[in-house]
Symmetry: C2
Subunit: 119 residues, 2 copies
DNA sequence: ATAATATATCAGTATCTACTGATATGTTGA
DNA sequence: TCAACATATCAGTAGATACTGATATATTAT
């Protein structure tokens, strides 16, 4: 076989989930749950900078979570599959269940001083 | 109210998804889909270092995706909720749908030389 | 053709985070 | 108590990535 870089399914899954794992991208996805939007509309809906949105959209499209449709000089982005919506919904549900735990998730998002020795 | 750091739901969601967004953690979760395992068993099942596994487990537990149960000097980890399993399953389905796109996801995982201007 | 608008890319930076190797803590049995 | 085992934490590092501000490209209208 000789494939030096075997593509494991966990790697693919990780990339997929990475699409969901950033607040800015989630804002974008959330906005798109109501239907297709242009980049400018997404910028307005999310309050992110244009270049930032554009980068995230690129990522989301590369990862297959959104697809595009050009209409003149506008490009409409929309969720690529109903499962994206279902995944977001399921995450909401799970979050409601474990909200407290996640809220306290301390490991990777504290200021440097308090990274170690959590209490 | 005076909360300087308003906790937006996208932030919580992002943390939740971040639990799923790393290949090592996905390996761990995958292993746990078949039932509870001790840390040592997880180390063996995943081929990761012990400290690495321990760190990831800590993260997963903080984020509410797994829970623990001590039995003597062993600590059994298991998925916290059936929805975790369902989320993984849904991701599998979605992945099958957009596999090609994700496989090509170039933005954030190429060697430095080729990060910009993807041919 | 040119201005105006929409979107994408660039280069640079600060932060985040996965990992390692070493060490510490906790638990059990001899 | 002490050795053996199970697990957690530490400190440090390399690489990943979200963001900004500037610039480039594309499309339309005048």
């Amino acid at each position: 076989m000789l494939m030096t870089t075997k593509v494991r399914s966990v790697d693919l899954q990780a990339k997929l989930f990475r699409g969901f794992s950033d607040p800015s991208r989630l804002s974008i996805l959330e906005a798109l749950r109501n239907g297709p939007l242009t980049v400018t509309e997404i910028v307005q809906a999310t309050d992110l900078s244009q270049s930032n949105v554009s980068n995230h959209l690129c990522c989301l499209r590369d990862c297959g979570l959104v697809t595009t449709e050009q209409d003149g000089r506008f490009i409409y982005y929309h969720l690529s599959d109903p499962r994206v919506d279902r995944l977001l919904h399921l995450a909401d549900e799970l979050l409601a269940e474990v909200a407290k735990g996640v809220y306290q998730c301390a490991r990777y998002n504290l200021p440097k001083e308090s990274r170690h020795g959590r209490n």
